[in-house]
């Protein structure tokens, strides 16, 4: 009998998922509040008792592994040279490593930016800049100024390879916690994620987890292996690609609407068309974007921030709510649970806005250029038109009575016909909230993780009839 316990120390909830690998079954799930401020074991023990209660008895686990986004998650600063190139590449590497990118800087750093890195409680700095053989002046300047500031947090250098030796010297000279890896953009518009991402993961395991108060729980669990978003990304990749003879779902999009952020994952190629000219930095096949201003609680005010007064009045009248006070209520009480129809109605509306907006920022755009030979298309970003499935996860999606209406927003082109949103996907929901857990399980037993996901990530509730489609 192989029983595994998979834990997600989230920012608000500690979520447990017990799995039996022989039967390919979920034995049970349970959750309680994350208690990282006091002692993380408290919340964990509470959730564990609930879990045992549900299962009916105390069972032994072969392995207990966890992912974490507690205590602010993995907070990174991405530094590059030019905004559209190495800055963007550095940002994508951080996001692909499951980090929150709190700070983004370009060109030469100044003292105020250095201060922001220090006061912003950044966990890791990713320093990029220059293609291989290209500009090395900027990264050397930036390494030097970071060194002089006495920063002790890990600095990962992933810039121009020709500058590596000088950067190593600077790391040594200032006794920095420095790490060298491959350039995130070795040549113009080519993205190289792997080396830097693995380095970030390694540092997260060795150095960050301790600082996040998770060390305390080390005796109870075997290991914390991933930042939570990376676990979700790994799960999404597995579900899309399949494993050995077990087929995956093909190209997918996952939308995860949380309290603090809305995360979007797309597992697909940039374009399948031969009549487009693709511009800009190469897109990762497995791409994650994070919207720090779109969330159901901490970030609820962000949802209305970009609306004009007219739009707010329109919504208030149309929906019969006071949207500004509703988002503020959620912001000031992040533990709020919907109590009545009115609350549910507002939750639904906010979730729809998050899904719509997050996709607006994630998907690519296409424009026509006319020639006598016909149209030529110019594409920037990823073309999601052909993805087969859009999968919803996160508390608000799972609890919603109208899941279709939330997920449908990811395909809503509205006023932007140039947006390459999913065209006609099927909608699925992670009803048991297991994606992060399955990302963890995929590290031990990918086959079981895949089979469980295929069984439990299933059709939506509240599908509208065809006319409203």
């Amino acid at each position: 009998m192989a029983n595994y316990l998979l834990i997600d120390f989230g920012s608000t909830f500690t979520k447990l998922c017990a799995v039996n690998s022989e039967k390919c079954e979920i034995l049970g799930t349970a959750s309680d509040f994350t208690t990282v401020e006091t002692d993380i074991t408290e919340g964990y023990q509470k959730a564990l008792s609930k879990l045992f209660e549900k299962i009916g008895n105390k069972i032994k686990f072969e392995q207990v592994i966890a992912c974490s986004s507690a205590a602010g998650g993995l907070k990174m600063a991405a530094i590059g040279l030019v905004k559209e190139l190495t800055v963007e590449a550095a940002k994508r590497v951080c996001l692909g490593a499951g980090a929150k990118v709190d700070l983004v800087f370009s060109h030469h750093l100044n003292q105020s930016e250095i201060q922001q890195i220090i006061t912003g409680k950044i966990d890791i700095v990713l320093l990029a800049g220059g293609s291989d053989g290209g500009n090395s002046e900027a990264v050397i300047y930036n390494a030097e100024i970071l060194g002089k500031s006495g920063i002790k947090i890990p600095v990962v250098f992933a810039g121009n390879k020709s500058a590596q030796d000088q950067i190593t010297e600077i790391f040594n000279k200032y006794n920095m916690n420095g790490h060298i890896c491959d350039n995130v953009m070795p040549t113009i518009n080519v993205l190289n994620i792997t080396s830097a991402r693995e380095k970030i993961r390694e540092i997260f395991l060795k150095q960050i987890i301790e600082a996040k108060g998770i060390k305390k729980i080390e005796n109870d669990i075997n290991r914390v292996i991933l930042p939570t978003p990376l676990a979700v990304l790994d799960a999404a990749k597995l579900l899309s690609e399949g494993y050995l003879e077990e087929e995956g779902l093909g190209e997918i999009v996952v939308v995860d609407i949380g309290g603090a952020t809305t995360d979007l994952y797309s597992i697909c190629s940039s374009s399948k068309r031969s009549d487009v000219i693709i511009q800009g930095l190469e897109e990762p096949f497995a791409k994650r974007t994070v919207e720090g201003d779109l969330g159901m609680r901490y970030s609820a005010p962000g949802i209305v921030k970009s609306l004009s007064e007219r739009e707010i009045n329109f919504i208030n009248k149309e929906k019969g709510v006071d949207i500004v006070s509703e988002v503020n209520r959620r912001y000031s009480n992040v533990k709020l649970l919907p109590e009545n129809n009115h609350d549910e109605f507002v939750e639904q509306f906010l979730a729809e806005m998050c899904a719509y907006r997050a996709m607006h920022r994630h998907c690519g755009r296409i424009n026509e250029v006319l020639t006598p030979m016909g149209k030529v298309f110019n594409q920037v970003g990823k073309d999601l038109s052909d993805v087969s499935y859009v999968i919803g996860t996160g508390g608000v999606v799972i609890k919603s009575k109208k899941q279709y209406d939330i997920l449908k927003q990811t395909t809503n082109i509205l006023h932007n016909p140039s947006e390459l949103r999913p065209n006609d996907p099927e909608f699925l929901v992670d009803h048991e909230y297991i994606m992060a857990a399955m990302g963890l399980l995929s590290k031990i037993d990918p086959m079981v993780a895949l089979k469980i996901m295929k069984k439990h990530i299933s059709h939506i509730r509240g599908r509208q009839d065809e006319t409203s489609k």
Partner: protein, 134 residues
């Protein structure tokens, strides 16, 4: 090795000459960064900054070169690569205009060298060598 950024500016999709230029320059011993067709001024400048390029070579074939190139030197100055060599060639304006005037206008815009239609890359190679101090 000297680095040259090449590409076709504006909404211009003429791709054939661009490939020939890449081939010729690479064979002549340059590190060529080809950003391809449909490239904006910013695309050229960004690539030049990241690669620490010595020269930007703009192609324009469809006749709107003058509009597409306007202000490019100013952007280079703003971006800290004020001394980079700027070349332009192809069919940079519409029809048969007096090229000395055309050339003068591009020189005033800050281009170092301006080539009339029909100039091949091989013909321009000696200018590169002089300007790059080789």
């Amino acid at each position: 090795m000297k680095t040259i950024v090449i590409g076709v500016i504006g909404a211009d999709v003429h791709a054939v000459g661009n490939k020939i230029i890449e081939y010729t320059l690479s064979k002549s011993g340059y590190n060529v960064i080809n950003i391809g067709v449909l490239s904006s001024q910013e695309d050229f400048i960004n690539a030049a900054i990241e690669t620490n390029a010595d020269m930007i070579m703009v192609s324009s074939l469809y006749g709107h070169g003058e509009i597409d190139c306007r202000g490019m030197r100013d952007k280079c100055i703003e971006s800290g690569i004020e001394n980079i060599l700027l070349y332009v060639g192809g069919n940079i304006v519409v029809g048969k205009q007096d090229f000395t005037e055309v050339k003068q206008r591009f020189i005033e815009m800050g281009f170092n060298r301006v080539y009339p239609p029909g100039t091949s890359i091989d013909e321009a190679l000696t200018d590169f060598k002089t300007d790059l101090g080789e």
